[in-house]
C-alpha cells in the first residue's frame, strides 16, 4: 500500500498488518474462495434457490474492501473470476473481467469510506452485485453477441438478498481475521 493510500485510509491499514510467521490469513485467502466456489457448484444441486447467493462475489468484495489495495484486489478478483470461468462451460474471462473490475472499484471505494459500517457494507454489496450482473450481461451480449435475458427486477431482489447475507458474513469473516492475526 503506498503513502497516498495510507493517508486516505486514515492509517487504518496499520491495524491490518499480519504478524510475521502467521500463515493462517494467507491460507484463508486460498481456501475461502475455494469454499465459495464449492458452495456455488455443489449446494444448488439440492437447493436451487440458494444458487442466487453469489459467495464468490461476496468473498471478493470482502477482501477488496478490507485490504484497501487496488492492485491486490484486482488480482484477487481476477483469480476468483478465472477459477469460476474454468468451472463453467463458457469462455474463460467473462467472470474474470467482471470480478477484476469489482475488486478494483471496491478497493477504491474502501480508500474513501469507512467500510466497516454495516449500513455502508449493505449499500456497497447491493451496488457491486448490481454492477457485477449488469456488466456480465453487457459482456455476454455486446462482446460475444450471445443471447441472455436481462431482468432488472429479479436482479435488484437478488442484490438485496446478497447484501442481507453479506452483513453477517462480513462480521464472521472480520472475527476470523482478527483471531488469526
Amino acid at each position: 500500500m503506498d503513502t497516498t493510500d495510507q493517508i486516505l485510509s486514515g492509517g487504518r491499514s496499520k491495524d491490518r498488518l499480519i504478524r510475521p510467521g502467521n500463515i493462517q490469513p494467507f491460507l484463508a485467502i486460498l481456501y475461502l474462495p475455494l469454499l465459495a466456489v464449492l458452495y456455488e457448484i455443489y449446494i444448488p444441486n439440492f437447493f436451487i434457490q440458494l444458487a442466487y447467493v453469489q459467495l464468490t462475489l461476496l468473498v471478493t468484495l470482502y477482501y477488496s474492501l478490507s485490504w484497501r489495495s487496488q492492485t491486490a484486489a484486482l488480482f484477487f478478483g481476477a483469480a476468483v473470476g478465472l477459477m469460476q470461468d474454468a468451472l463453467s462451460h463458457q469462455y474463460v474471462g467473462l467472470f474474470g473481467i467482471t470480478k477484476t473490475l469489482v475488486g478494483y472499484f471496491a478497493a477504491s471505494v474502501s480508500l474513501r469510506f469507512d467500510v466497516e459500517n454495516s449500513a455502508i457494507r449493505f449499500i456497497l454489496t447491493f451496488f457491486f452485485f448490481t454492477f457485477h450482473q449488469f456488466f456480465y450481461w453487457i459482456l455476454v451480449r455486446a462482446l460475444l453477441g450471445l443471447g441472455m435475458a436481462f431482468e432488472p427486477a429479479q436482479m435488484f431482489i437478488q442484490a438485496g438478498l446478497n447484501a442481507l447475507i453479506a452483513m453477517p458474513l462480513f462480521i464472521v469473516l472480520d472475527k476470523l481475521n482478527n483471531r488469526w492475526r
Partner: protein
C-alpha cells in the same frame, strides 16, 4: 514515462489485466477453442473436494435412510407387492399381444433390440455460470468422451460437452443451447428439442399443419448422432399455433426424479419407438352402426347412400345432380369450348327409395324423427299414441 507509470500504477495494472483477459477472450472466440489446460486444472483441483462432499452427504443420508427410516419398509413392501402384481398382469397382456401379433416380425424386432452399453455416474457439482450444466464423477479415464448421450431410466437428460480425466461436464436437456432430434409417438411428427433454461423444453420446427396432442410422448430420432433412436424425451403439456411453426412445450421425463444417478451411453443402440398405449376405458366411445334401408337390389344400405351405393358427402351429391343434368343436356366433358360449370337450377335430389315401394312423399306434416332414433324410409310407421277413447274401442 516512468513517472506516469508510478503515478498511475494501479490504473495501469488494471488496464493490463483487463487487456490480457480480453485478449484471452478474443483468442477463444476467434479460434473457437476453449482453454482446456485451465479447465483441466480447475476441475482436477475441485473435483476431489466435490466428490468428498457428495460421498459424505450420501453416506450420512444412507445411514439415516437405512437405520432410522425403517418404519416405512412395511408400507414400501406392500407397495412393491402391488407393483409386482400390476407388472405381472402387464407382462401377461404383452405376452398375449406378442402371440397374436405378427410373430415373425415381432421376434425379429425383439432380437434386434439390445440395450445400449452404459456407464453409471453420479452428479457431483453444477456449473458456476448456469445450473443447466453439471459435473459428473466419470471422465476420460472411464471411457467418457465429449458428445456421449446421458440418460436415466426415464429418458434422456443431456449430453457430455467436455470430459476431463476424473470428471465430465454434462449439458442438461434444459440448457438453452441444448438441441436434439425428436419425433412424436402417436403421429410421428418430427421436430427439434430445445432447452429453455428451466424445467420445460420446447419442440421447434413443427409445422402448424402437423398434429400433436396434449399428453403425447416424444422420443429421440437418432438423427442427431448423439442419442440412440427410441429413447423417451418428454410429454407434451402445451401446444399452441404460431405464425409458421407450432409452439410445443414438453416436460422432460428424464429429469422428473431428480439428478443423482445417471447413465452415460458409451455405445448407443437404436431402438424402435413403442406404439402408443391403448386408450383407457373412459376414453372409448362405442358408436352404433348407421340405420339401414332396403336398396333397389333388395340389399340393405345405410340411409343417405346414393344410388351407386357409395357413401358420399353433400358435395358429392351436388356433383351427382350436376352430372345428371349435364348428361341430359348432352354435354361432353373435357371437349373444346365447354362452358364453366354452373350449379344453378339443378334438378331436385332423388330421395332414397325403399325397394319397389316407390311412392310420393306424404303431404301430411309429420313430426321429424329424433336424431338418435331415426325411422328408416319404408319401415312401418309407429302407431299413433293411443287415446283413452281408442283404448276403449274393441
Amino acid at each position: 514515462m516512468e513517472l506516469l507509470f508510478s503515478r498511475y500504477r494501479n490504473l495501469t495494472v488494471l488496464l493490463l489485466v483487463l487487456f490480457s483477459q480480453l485478449l484471452l477472450l478474443a483468442y477463444q472466440v476467434r479460434s473457437n477453442t476453449q482453454l482446456r489446460i485451465l479447465r483441466v486444472w480447475a476441475v482436477t483441483g475441485v473435483a476431489p473436494f466435490a466428490r468428498l462432499l457428495e460421498n459424505s452427504r450420501s453416506s450420512v443420508y444412507s445411514f439415516f435412510n437405512d437405520y432410522f427410516i425403517l418404519l416405512d419398509v412395511r408400507e414400501e413392501n406392500r407397495r412393491f407387492k402391488a407393483e409386482t402384481n400390476r407388472l405381472k398382469l402387464e407382462n401377461n397382456f404383452l405376452k398375449t399381444e406378442l402371440a397374436t401379433a405378427d410373430r415373425a416380425r415381432a421376434l425379429i424386432e425383439f432380437k434386434g433390440r439390445s440395450p445400449s452399453k452404459t456407464l453409471a455416474a453420479r452428479v457431483i457439482a453444477t456449473s458456476t455460470s448456469a445450473k443447466t450444466v453439471v459435473l459428473v464423477d466419470r471422465g476420460t479415464s472411464d471411457g467418457v468422451y465429449k458428445g456421449m448421450a446421458v440418460i436415466t431410466g426415464d429418458g434422456i437428460i443431456g449430453k457430455v460437452i467436455d470430459s476431463f480425466p476424473s470428471a465430465s461436464q454434462v449439458q442438461l436437456i434444459s440448457d438453452s443451447l441444448f438441441g436434439a432430434g425428436v419425433v412424436s409417438q402417436k403421429n410421428r411428427v418430427y421436430g427439434t428439442l430445445k432447452g429453455q433454461g428451466h424445467n420445460r423444453c420446447q419442440v421447434d420446427r413443427v409445422q402448424n399443419e402437423d398434429k400433436v396432442e396434449l399428453g403425447e410422448m416424444f422420443f429421440t430420432t437418432g438423427e442427431d448422432r448423439i442419442f440412440p433412436k427410441g429413447l423417451p424425451v418428454g410429454r407434451v403439456v402445451s401446444v399452441q399455433t404460431g405464425p409458421i411453426f407450432k409452439s410445443i412445450e414438453v416436460v422432460p421425463t428424464g429429469l422428473a426424479n431428480g439428478l443423482e444417478e445417471i447413465l452415460i451411453v458409451l455405445e448407443g443402440v437404436h431402438q424402435n419407438i413403442p406404439a402408443p398405449s391403448l386408450p383407457s376405458a373412459d376414453q372409448i366411445t362405442i358408436l352404433q352402426p348407421p340405420p339401414t334401408s332396403t336398396g333397389a337390389d333388395g340389399r340393405s344400405v345405410p340411409v343417405g347412400t346414393p344410388s351407386n351405393g357409395v357413401l358420399s358427402t353433400d358435395a358429392d351429391r351436388l356433383a351427382e345432380r350436376y352430372m345428371k343434368r349435364e348428361q341430359q343436356r348432352g354435354v361432353r366433358f373435357g371437349t373444346f369450348g365447354s362452358q364453366p360449370p354452373s350449379f344453378q337450377n339443378l334438378p331436385p335430389a332423388s330421395t332414397p327409395t325403399s325397394g319397389s315401394q316407390q311412392q310420393t312423399p306424404p303431404q301430411v306434416q309429420m313430426p321429424q324423427p329424433k336424431v338418435g332414433n331415426p325411422v328408416p324410409p319404408g319401415a312401418p310407421q309407429p302407431a299413433p299414441a293411443k287415446t283413452p277413447d281408442a283404448v276403449k274401442q274393441p
